[in-house]
């Protein structure tokens, strides 16, 4: 039988129930502080105070070794914590990127000095990272990046521009993909990853307002920014391989299908008030099944990752289906509620709806566009 994808049996950790209870108790103290608009922002929301509290619980860098401030938890235990946070619509943005990718990259490819310097700060919620991949002329075609890091006597001089940098204006560090050799024509060759402090002289941050009226992302200009040789992560020239390895971690997590979950929860309560409304029953049931299956795939991938398998193709499936699910949620809300709903943004439901509706277009852009993901899938299927 033709089986292009593997989804191994889920193995939740024995500590699951206790850990969930602890996270829920922790979140109960915070939940009421968040407006529906904020819950609609989920992992985009940036709240340093919240992240420090999460860090104090030991829930950032959970899987990292204790010597770097980690908790020695399993990947599945980390999964439990983050899905509980996303289900609550918690503003995890101040530690999210470092916990998900910057920290693991430093742990895997960084020097011991770099690990000592950054990882403990990340785990306490005191160091926020942003991602410096995209440039004005390099979006999906990431290998064409031009930002240059020239060798100096004791490090690098960086010139160029990064863009769409989420929360760059609030972050402490950026991990930037830069060209240490050659030109944009050399593509994947000559790319490296460097850590740049966001307060480095010559680094200029211009905030970019988006259609929600807020300014989450930024344009970052590098004008002769000097960094030491110790800014380099891993090998010079290995930047592409490092940046694209383990994409499965980034593409299959609960953040790929739970951005709209807080709206779902409110829709369930709304439907309860309708009493035996068959349309809402059908819509809620279909959404519930969709989420359950996405979660089944996502947790199954996490189980495989924990076992050392890298299911990049399966992760692409989760992202493809997950973002489509998230984007569809506000449309389902309109169908269930009907009436004048959506004509204004007053009231809890309309407020969260307006947040998710306006953020939804970005769901299938960030982390690789829908078309790029499907291209990766079709290649994986042999086309």
């Amino acid at each position: 039988m033709f089986q292009p994808y593997r989804f191994s049996e889920i193995e939740m950790p024995p500590t699951e129930a206790a850990l969930r209870a602890e996270v829920r108790a922790f979140l109960a103290d915070w939940k009421d502080k968040w407006t529906p608009w904020e819950k609609g922002h989920s992992w985009n929301g940036f709240d340093r105070e919240f992240s420090r509290a999460v860090g104090a619980k030991g829930w950032i860098g959970m899987t990292w070794p204790a010597e770097y401030g980690g908790g020695g938890f399993s990947m599945m235990e980390r999964y439990v914590v983050i899905e509980e946070m996303l289900a609550a619509g918690a503003p995890v943005g101040a530690h999210w990127i470092a916990d998900r990718q910057s920290g693991p990259l430093i742990l895997k490819s960084g020097t011991d000095t770099q690990r000592q310097k950054y990882l403990p700060l990340i785990t306490t919620g005191d160091a926020s990272f942003c991602i410096g991949l995209s440039e004005p002329d390099s979006g999906s075609d990431l290998a064409s990046v031009r930002t240059k890091a020239e060798k100096t006597a004791d490090g690098y001089r960086i010139n160029g521009r990064k863009i769409w940098t989420t929360n760059g204006h609030l972050s402490d560090y950026m991990i930037a993909l830069v060209r240490t050799e050659g030109t944009a024509k050399d593509r994947h060759k000559g790319l490296s990853q460097v850590i740049v402090p966001m307060d480095a002289p010559g680094l200029n941050i211009r905030r970019i307002q988006d259609l929600t009226g807020e300014a989450h992302f930024n344009e970052i200009t590098f004008d002769n920014v000097l960094v030491g040789a110790d800014a380099l992560i891993g090998e010079e020239g290995a930047g592409w391989a490092q940046a694209t390895a383990e994409l499965a971690f980034e593409r299959s997590g609960p953040d790929r299908y739970m951005s709209a979950y807080p709206l779902f929860e409110m829709l369930v309560d709304y439907s309860q008030s309708l009493q035996d409304d068959r349309l809402s029953e059908r819509k809620i049931g279909a959404l519930f099944a969709e989420i359950a299956v996405l979660r089944q795939m996502s947790v199954s991938i996490a189980t495989m990752l924990q076992d050392g398998i890298l299911p990049n193709q399966e992760a692409a499936v989760v992202k493809d289906l997950g973002v489509t699910h998230e984007q569809n949620m506000p449309e389902v809300a309109r169908a269930i509620i009907g009436g004048d709903f959506g004509q204004d943004t007053e009231g809890d439901l309309a407020e969260i709806q307006s947040a998710i509706l306006q953020l939804a277009p970005t769901f299938s852009l960030r982390g690789g566009t829908r078309e790029i993901i499907r291209g990766i899938m079709s290649k994986g299927l042999g086309l």
Binding site: G285, F288, E371
Partner: protein, 347 residues
């Protein structure tokens, strides 16, 4: 890997080899016309797989549902030219209800009948693979208790053939107080539930075949000097088909695993809902990519797409299951939805 998983793999391989060697479009055509010989049925019966889910102390193989799942998927992958899946759930249900295994296994009726105090059945049921010389299992409510009823072949004399999109030989039976040969109580999971779970697995298997056929065609059909799989528009469609097939499979896995751990009602609902929901888009894409040749009688694709359209309706469509699931989720309320969700796969 445990022993059961090894056994399951061995049995699945045996079944695959047999079906691979015997099932092709001409055979499927004969089966749909009701003119096929019983050779394949006999060969399948020889494997003794109908007892896969019956406990070992009742002379079954004692497999878990998740270990048996690949058997069901393989049947879907080959467009199920035999009702082995139905036979497996029939024997399982008999054992559940405390009734002896039946040789050969009875057909399985779709639909819920009513059992009156005097032992007569009423209601109308539909019986895929039913025939006038075969016993049939019917699920019925006796007051608020779920019971499994075995009807002997004589009861089938009143049945009439009914035409379906899947074109599997199917009969409809109006139960005008039909006498029950044997009956026994069913637990929380009834025959209708496992029929739905079986269809979910069939759908997952058939979708993976539809995907495979589509990929093969992409790599062989040439237009504008290139194989059509080189066109990005085609690639984007195929990726969506692959995603839907993966979702059907993952949902089925959720349902099958839950069968091993207590009440699987909600997981079965999810499995059948998601699998049925995957059919519309997937079948449409498979046909779009195949062009005109894909809708011809000779081409094998329609055996899969028609069965997909059939199986998505049988034992409850995505809409039927969504409504039941939604009613339950709404009754529990928004705050309970998340704990319910993660509870689906809790150990």
């Amino acid at each position: 890997m445990n022993d059961d998983t090894n056994i399951s793999r061995m049995l699945t391989d045996q079944l695959s080899r047999l079906l691979e060697a015997s099932v092709d479009a001409p055979l499927l055509a004969k089966i749909e016309k009701g003119t096929a010989g019983s050779a394949l049925n006999d060969a399948v019966a020889e494997l003794g797989l109908d007892m896969a889910l019956v406990p070992e102390d009742k002379d079954g193989a004692g497999l878990d549902w998740s270990d048996a799942a690949p058997l069901f998927e393989v049947l879907g992958y080959y467009a199920a030219p035999v009702d082995l899946g139905e036979q497996i759930i029939a024997q399982w249900a008999l054992a559940q209800a405390g009734l002896p295994a039946s040789d050969p296994a009875p057909a399985v009726a779709l639909g819920l009948a009513k059992l009156s105090a005097d032992g007569g059945l009423s209601g109308t049921v539909t019986i895929p693979w039913g025939s006038a010389d075969r016993c049939v299992l019917v699920e019925a409510m006796q007051d608020d208790m779920r019971v499994l009823c075995l009807l002997d072949a004589a009861a089938m004399a009143a049945s009439v053939p009914v035409s379906t999109v899947g074109r599997i030989p199917t009969r409809r039976l109006k139960l005008n107080g039909a006498a029950v040969q044997a009956s026994g109580p069913l637990g929380a999971i009834g025959l209708g539930d496992v029929s739905a779970l079986l269809r979910a697995a069939y759908i997952a298997g058939a979708l993976s075949r539809a995907l495979e056929l589509t990929l093969d065609y992409c790599n062989t059909r040439t237009q504008f000097g290139r194989t059509i799989g080189k066109f990005q528009a085609v690639q984007q469609m195929v990726a969506q088909l692959a995603s839907e097939a993966a979702a059907a499979k993952a949902g089925t896995q959720l349902g099958m695993t839950a069968m091993g751990s207590g009440n699987a009602g909600m997981q079965i609902a999810i499995a059948k809902q998601r699998a049925s929901a995957a059919v519309a888009k997937s079948a449409a894409i498979a046909h779009e990519v195949h062009g005109a040749i894909g809708v011809t009688e000779e081409h094998i694709l329609h055996y899969f797409t028609r069965r997909l359209w059939q199986w998505r309706e049988e034992a409850g469509s995505e809409h039927v299951w969504a409504e039941r699931l939604g009613r339950e989720v709404i009754a529990r309320g928004g705050a309970a939805a998340w704990p319910t969700m993660v509870g689906l796969s809790a150990r």
